[in-house]
């Protein structure tokens, strides 16, 4: 590793020295050299220093990467070629430099070496030469072709338009062909790397692609500008900036800071903008042409109409193109969002449960270990989609989901890079609806559980209260009244006057009536026979019944709440049957089925009980213990009340 680093360092130092020398030569030629050495180019020449400087940055940040030296070599190649050409030019002047005839001889064919900087960069990016003989061959082919062209053109007149003589012609043609093949191979190398590469490689290659794609565009712009009569160095300035600054800068970013920006978005936006510009220009031209030729109206009208049409189409066109381009440039994101949106649709249509959102997100962001946790009001900490507590371990990568200023949940990732985080954030944002629905459902469930629990606590309290009240009536009031009665009895014993005795006797009878009344009240509160079980209590009810009452009771678990509720339901329904239905016979059946108790009261009365009529109390009583009440009552066909508790 250290050897690699040291070698890379040496390459860079060598390149930097060479660049410095070459730059000095170029500048000296411009300042001191003969007329004919074009001075305007020298401002551009300073750009050659940019890749070298960037190479140094990469070398610092990633010492083992071959990209640093490759960048340095790129700057070196261009500036050296220019130096040789400029040196050669002095041979034709009044004071030729030392050895300038050699440079003049080599000069006409030296240009392919300029390309070798790019060539090396493309082949080596981002992790050195790809394994395999093919790529080695490509790597050798490039310099070989450059050498062939150089030899074929050596000594020829750069201003001559005809082909060199003799054997040089086929050599030049073969050299050019091989150069094309080598450059094609280098491009193919990029494509193969992108196809086979891991996520990081793809990310880095996207940066380079973005910058590289700008080069032909800038070149095209340069041609247009040159056509318009702008001097070469200025016209080609953009192109040179693209090739010497943009591409090396992109490469540097790709190696050192590939997570700096959302490159996919950048690419798709850039491409979409360019395509939109081209398309709207085409549109503009078409409209102008159609109006100009077809209607032959004034040209001002044509331009105005074209502007109008173009302006109308611009925004939709951009959106459409952006969609298409992102589908191509950032397939993963498009597929991910499509999957999430489809799921959201399904949730909206009721075809999927919102709680599946975690699984969908896992698949969408290609992170099988991802977890979605929610913040539910009233529950401390985070919970999973089933409502179980799900604490987030410290140090885990996660993206936070927020509405307004409150955190509603967290998506915990197991694969984390800033691109992953961006994708996860986007996916979670797209899945906001199901996440929010899941959260609300959890909240609702918790609230319902609370209500159910508090209701059953209330019912239990009422049952207890009834029992206590009944006891108080029996053990307190009733005993006191009885004691009074006994005192009266005792008093009567001592009286001799028959009139007084009769008076006391009637008082005793009144007391006895009060005791009976007290017992009746206590019974209404809670029949004491319930202590002997539901069957005993219902039989007692039957014995008090003015109409025949058939009672069939299964054994019930000793649950006071259940037994009391069943009894009260039966008693109330039976009372209704006597009072309202004019029944001749009533039957009460209590069955156990599957952990639930079914109380059925049927009568042969007039029926016709409306669904809501006067059964609210029964309904509430049954619902209070989480049961259900069902009433079937056809007119003239009796009534059947069924409570399942």
């Amino acid at each position: 590793m250290r050897a690699v680093t040291r070698a890379a360092g040496r390459v860079w130092v060598g390149s930097a020295t060479l660049v410095a020398v070459a730059a000095a030569v170029v500048i000296a030629a411009a300042v001191l050299g003969p007329a004919g050495v074009v001075a305007e180019w020298e401002a551009v020449g300073a750009l050659d220093l940019v890749p070298v400087a960037l190479g140094w940055l990469v070398l610092r940040g990633a010492p083992t990467s071959p990209v640093g030296p490759a960048l340095a070599w790129m700057g070196t190649a261009t500036v050296t070629v220019r130096a040789v050409e400029v040196w050669g030019l002095t041979a034709a002047g009044p004071g030729p430099w030392w050895g300038s005839h050699v440079a003049a001889f080599v000069g006409p064919g030296v240009w392919p070496w300029q390309l070798m900087g790019f060539f090396a960069l493309v082949l080596l990016f981002p992790k050195g030469l790809a394994p395999g003989r093919v790529w080695l061959a490509v790597a050798v082919l490039g310099p070989a072709a450059a050498l062939m062209i150089n030899i074929a053109l050596a000594g020829s007149d750069p201003r001559a338009q005809e082909m060199p003589a003799g054997w040089r012609t086929p050599m030049l043609l073969v050299g050019l062909l091989l150069l094309l093949v080598a450059l094609g191979g280098a491009v193919a190398c990029l494509v193969v790397r992108f196809r086979r590469g891991d996520e990081l490689t793809r990310l880095q290659l996207r940066w380079v692609l973005l910058a590289a794609a700008s080069v032909p565009v800038l070149l095209a712009v340069s041609w247009v500008v040159v056509d318009l009569g702008v001097p070469g160095p200025i016209a080609y300035g953009g192109f040179l900036i693209g090739i010497l600054v943009l591409v090396p800068a992109a490469v540097t970013l790709a190696v050192l800071r590939h997570d700096l920006l959302d490159i996919e978005q950048l690419i798709s936006s850039t491409v979409a903008v360019l395509l939109t510009a081209v398309a709207s220009a085409g549109l503009f031209a078409t409209v102008v042409w159609v109006l100009g030729s077809g209607l032959a109206g004034p040209s001002g009208l044509g331009a105005t109409a074209a502007s109008f049409v173009t302006a109308l189409c611009l925004l939709p066109l951009y959106h459409r193109l952006h969609g298409v381009v992102s589908r191509v440039t950032d397939r993963e994101r498009t597929v991910m969002l499509a999957a999430v949106r489809e799921f959201v649709e399904q949730v909206r249509d009721g075809a999927a449960a919102p709680e599946q959102v975690e699984d969908v997100l896992r698949v969408a962001i290609a992170d099988p270990g991802a977890r979605l946790t929610l913040v539910v009001p009233g529950t401390p900490g985070h919970v999973d989609l089933r409502g179980e507590p799900a604490p987030i371990a410290t140090g885990t990568e996660h993206v936070s989901l927020r509405t307004h200023d409150a955190e509603v949940g967290v998506l915990v990732l197991t694969r984390a890079s800033s691109r992953r985080r961006r994708l996860a954030t986007e996916a979670a944002r797209a899945a906001r609806l199901p996440i929010e629905v899941s959260r609300l459902r959890l909240e609702l469930r918790a609230a319902l559980e609370d209500v159910t629990a508090s209701r059953s606590r209330l019912v239990a309290a009422v049952v207890d209260e009834r029992r206590r009240l009944e006891q108080d009536l029996h053990d307190g009031a009733q005993q006191s009244v009885l004691a009074i009665g006994m005192r009266l009895q005792s008093l009567r014993h001592r009286l001799t006057d028959p009139l007084l005795q009769a008076e006391v006797d009637s008082a005793v009878r009144a007391v006895a009536d009060s005791v009976v009344e007290l017992r009746r009240i206590a019974h209404g509160v809670r029949p004491r026979r319930l202590d002997d079980g539901l069957a005993a209590a219902l039989h007692e009810l039957a014995s008090d019944s003015p109409v025949p009452l058939d009672v069939v009771v299964a054994d019930l678990p000793p649950d006071d709440m259940l037994v009391t509720t069943a009894y009260l339901v039966a008693a109330e329904a039976v009372a209704n049957a006597w009072k309202h239905a004019r029944a001749q016979r009533v039957a009460v059946t209590v069955q156990r089925c599957g952990g639930r108790t079914r109380v059925e009261i049927t009568d042969d009365g007039i029926g016709g009980v409306g669904p809501a009529a006067s059964l609210t109390a029964l309904h509430d009583r049954v619902a209070s213990v989480g049961g259900e009440l069902d009433v079937v009552s056809p007119v003239g066909g009796g009534t059947r009340v069924t409570a399942v508790i």
Binding site: L482, R529, D532
Partner: protein, 217 residues
């Protein structure tokens, strides 16, 4: 007659004691819970225990359970159970053995009936409160497995269960004693109770009718 009163309500206990004393009985002990009942019954050997079914310590059927335990220790010890309301757990077995009664507490306000029941039980007879009989012998209580008694037979059986003699029943129903005897024989026959000459046959009849099989039947 020496009577033991076991009752946790002080007011009621004092009233009851006074009534018993005024009726010429000797109240040998007044206790307020089941344990004290056991202890003082052993110590004083009363002629009759008047026991509240519901008593401390558990405020459940402690009185009835204590009475059963006492009967095991002293077979034939007359016991008159009292309760605030009808409560048949742990009571029915006891009733089949004779020298046992079960009255609701308000019966003390019908003083003659109450003192009559006290005398009957102390003499080895039985006494059931009419309310309790009514509750137990409901015509709707029967299942198909028991023979159907005629309304008149049921009436006679109810009175018999309360502890009345044939003569007493005849007086109440305003019929001749022979008619009562006929009805009783009908009841015994229908319930399959052997015509043995025991004084508790009547209560046995009620209990059989209620679907409980008394010992030895």
């Amino acid at each position: 007659m020496r009577v033991l009163v076991a009752e946790d309500s002080v007011l009621f206990r004092e009233g009851l004691t006074r009534l018993l004393r005024e009726a010429g009985h000797e109240v040998v002990a007044e206790v307020g819970d089941a344990d004290a009942l056991m202890a003082s019954a052993r110590a004083t050997r009363p002629d009759l225990c008047v026991v509240d079914i519901r008593m401390p310590p558990r405020m459940d059927s402690d009185g009835a359970l204590a009475a059963r335990a006492l009967r095991q220790e002293v077979p034939g010890l007359p016991i008159l159970l009292l309760s605030q309301h009808i409560e048949t757990r742990h009571v029915l077995d006891l009733l089949t053995e004779g020298a046992c009664g079960y009255l609701l507490k308000d019966r003390v306000l019908h003083l003659e009936d109450f003192l009559d029941a006290v005398r009957r039980v102390a003499a080895g007879g039985s006494a059931l409160d009419p309310e309790i009989v009514k509750a137990l012998v409901s015509p709707l209580r029967d299942g198909p497995r028991l023979p159907m008694l005629s309304p008149r037979e049921l009436e006679v059986l109810s009175l018999a269960a309360e502890g009345h003699s044939n003569a007493g029943i005849a007086r109440r129903l305003v019929v001749s004693e022979r008619t009562v005897e006929t009805h009783m024989r009908g009841v015994f026959f229908k319930l399959g109770i052997a015509d043995a000459d025991t004084s508790h046959r009547r209560v046995t009849a009620v209990l059989v009718y209620l679907g409980r099989t008394p010992p030895g039947a």
